[in-house]
Amino acid sequence: METLSLLWDGFAVAALPINLLLIVVGCFAGTLIGALPGLGPVNGVAILIPLTFAFGLDATSSLILLSAVYYGCMYGGRISAILLNIPGDEPAIMTTLDGYPMAKQGQAADALAISGVASFIGATLATIGLTLFAPMLAKAAIYFGPADYFALYVMAFATIGGITGADPRKTLLAALLGLMLGTVGLDPSTGVARYTFGSFNLYDGFDPIVALVGLFAISEILFFLEEKAHGGSMVPPGRVFPRLTRVKEGLGASLRGSLIGFIAGILPGAGASLGAVMSYSFEKRISDKKGTFGHGDPRGVAAPEAGNNAASGGALIPMLTLGVPGSGTTAVMLAMLISLNIQPGPLLFERSPDLVWGLVAALYLANFTLLILNLPLIGMFTRVLGLPAWGLMPLVVAISYLGVYAITHAAFDLLIMVGFGILGYVLRKLDFSLVPIVLGLLLGMDMENNLRRALSISGGDFTVLVQSPIALFIYALTAAFLALSLWLARRGVVAPLHAEQAED
């Protein structure tokens, strides 16, 4: 009851005209930034920080603006993933798997509506979870140690095998390639430079955004150039208005995805990408009875979108209750709070109830705003598909170049991006899926670090990996998962019915 009255006070803060305006502006800007390839939520939020200072916003209003941008980015990342097969940011990679095939079949509007509603469900459920259970969940997350994190990553990679493609060997090889690329750079535990060949530019490893844009956007252009130019569009625009029946098909998946994503979000460091991956692979295991996943199944769009939006809501929990960032974006938001003289940490709820509850209330409002903003925009976005490829793709490249260059100021990163583009093109020709590469790159470093942390704690004793009940539970779950898919495969339920369809 106390929570509700605090939330009510929060709404009083959030409903101030200035804050309402910031919510709308933030949601809109976030959606755009999220949709632009090469600019993710981290940079979107970082870009706006100087703006909050320039306008002299107080801490609450600044945080509301940045959170609206953060949520907006999560909505926006899916747009280019669906329309162009180019994820706008890292967590949207899973959305390309079924979203782009839907667009190719002329169902872009449906896919956008499904993912919009799924994002809304994921983010709203996460916000409710945040409202009701934040302090409790934060306390529980503390007991998640390095061995448990490692188990979580093992689960993510063990279940990757069946995510995509006809040949599981290639999916695993792609994931291993991603993991290998992820080890490039300074080793965080010892500072040893690995696979950098003496280049300082490689000391921080490959930026996932650079890899993402190269693998997806540039390889798309090379694909297009195979055939003589025809001046047409990349994908048929299809119908402009979504159908309600299709949206309904994604509801169950959205609910399941939200729960998984939320849990991934609460764990500091795991974040939205892991939420999206786990939601997708879980949904595929339990729902893919006819082998339609990967060929435009609405549930394959709904699950990861609900997952990554729920994760971003979940990531606010460690940020608000402990002052520990759950993701790169929340790290930037924490830095801003500190510079506005708000000390994040366990006392934030007590000391700044206005700020915390104002933010929570603003998140509810932001979610509704995003839903209302996004549904009418579907018509506009699908029209983008009607644009000729010669106009659209060069612009996408220019935007990606700028997004990357403006953040790192290194032409080197752009060359790496072209390299990833050629790699992505060749691998796609060879029937490798690109998604596992990005996942390996995104999650590999954390996987290794947590393994090494666990062993540092035990002094090199490997049994530490299976001593924690949490880790054992995760391994049991993984085993059950794999057993289930083997069983399904033997019964011939998951037949690659549409394997040919994906080629066209």
């Binding site: 390095p146 002052g323 830095a335 100021h409």
Partner: protein
């Protein structure tokens, strides 16, 4: 028609304004991604420099992440060594990297402007840890160096680790190589893992974990400063407990090696004025920094000395040969 012309004129004016060059080209390079400590230093100092009227217009902040500052260092050394309008944020962490040979060149390549404040190292344990004082902890580690799992935000050989090793040496622990060290992605995660019982001690900067000190979730056994710090005067220093170890993580700036004496002196002067401003004193306090000033030649000498010290300790613990 007139209306149309006016609109066209206004549009032209707006475009002209948008393209117009900014009033000043003062630039601060943050050699890290947005959101980190160096980015914060650039943004806060940049904001205050223009708010205090010490520079014309805005200070442009450029992020140039890579190699814990090595990419920006190499870039400035090769392309911008003479740029009189350039500041580059750095800290003890950067000097540690230089001392361990992880930058393309040594400290003498750059002109060191000033430090404006320092984060102070702390040694902390969970609030229900058996260790009540630094003596308790060091006593236990002396008996068996592997008995306590220690952690911080840097890898082995990084500043958080080195500070703890300096303490262990001061306590007379011989076998410092067998102390267990775990790296986390920041002081906050290290502390929460300690609260969850994964590790026993955290050595890191106070600024990032001060919320946990205020809430009483953790107990600070020692702060590594000369004098008790202003924000938490009750926390005991290591010195007061008989361990002559300090471990500051200062925040400051360098500029290119080819900058003239005149431009160099102008920057030192501006930064000193900034340091003395109320705005900086407040900002520093809010972010957990002790305002400490060292500028110009004094600062250069300090950096050179720290560089030597760091190299020496790194050799002793085997980080460099």
């Amino acid at each position: 028609m007139i209306l149309k012309l006016n609109t066209a004129y206004a549009a032209g004016l707006a475009v002209g304004l948008l393209f117009a060059m900014p009033a000043t080209a003062a630039e601060c390079i943050a050699p890290a991604d947005p959101g980190g400590g160096w980015d914060f230093t650039c943004r806060e100092v940049g904001r205050l420099l223009s708010a205090e009227g010490l520079v014309d217009g805005n200070v442009q902040v450029t992020n140039m992440p890579g190699g814990v500052g090595a990419v920006a260092f190499a870039n400035v050394a090769s392309k911008r060594a003479n740029d009189p309008e350039l500041l580059v944020a750095t800290s003890t962490v950067g000097v540690t990297q230089i001392a361990q040979g992880k930058y393309p060149a040594g400290v003498e390549t750059m002109r060191w402007l000033a430090m404006l404040g320092a984060d102070v190292g702390v040694i902390a344990v969970d609030d229900d840890s058996p260790y009540q004082s630094l003596d308790d902890l060091m006593g236990a580690m002396k008996g068996d160096p592997a008995s306590v799992v220690t952690a911080g935000s840097t890898g082995a050989g990084g500043w958080d680790h080195i500070r703890l090793m300096m303490l262990a040496q001061a306590a007379g622990i011989e076998d410092i190589g067998s102390i267990r060290w775990v790296q986390f992605d920041g002081g906050g995660p290290a502390v929460t893992q300690m609260m969850g019982g994964q590790v026993g001690v955290v050595s890191t900067d106070l600024g990032e974990i001060k919320g946990f000190v205020e809430s009483g979730d953790i107990r600070v056994l020692a702060v590594l400063s000369d004098e008790p710090i202003s924000a938490f005067p009750d926390l005991p220093t290591a010195k007061s407990q008989g361990y002559d170890v300090t471990g500051y993580n200062w925040r400051g700036f360098y500029t290119g090696g080819g900058v003239s004496d005149e431009d160099y002196a102008a920057w030192v002067d501006r930064l000193q004025k900034l340091y003395n401003s109320e705005g900086w004193q407040e900002t520093a306090k809010a972010s957990g920094l002790e305002p400490i000033w060292r500028g110009g030649e004094e600062f250069s000498a300090y950096v050179a000395e720290q560089n030597e010290q760091m190299a020496e300790i790194s050799r002793q613990i085997g980080v460099i040969q």
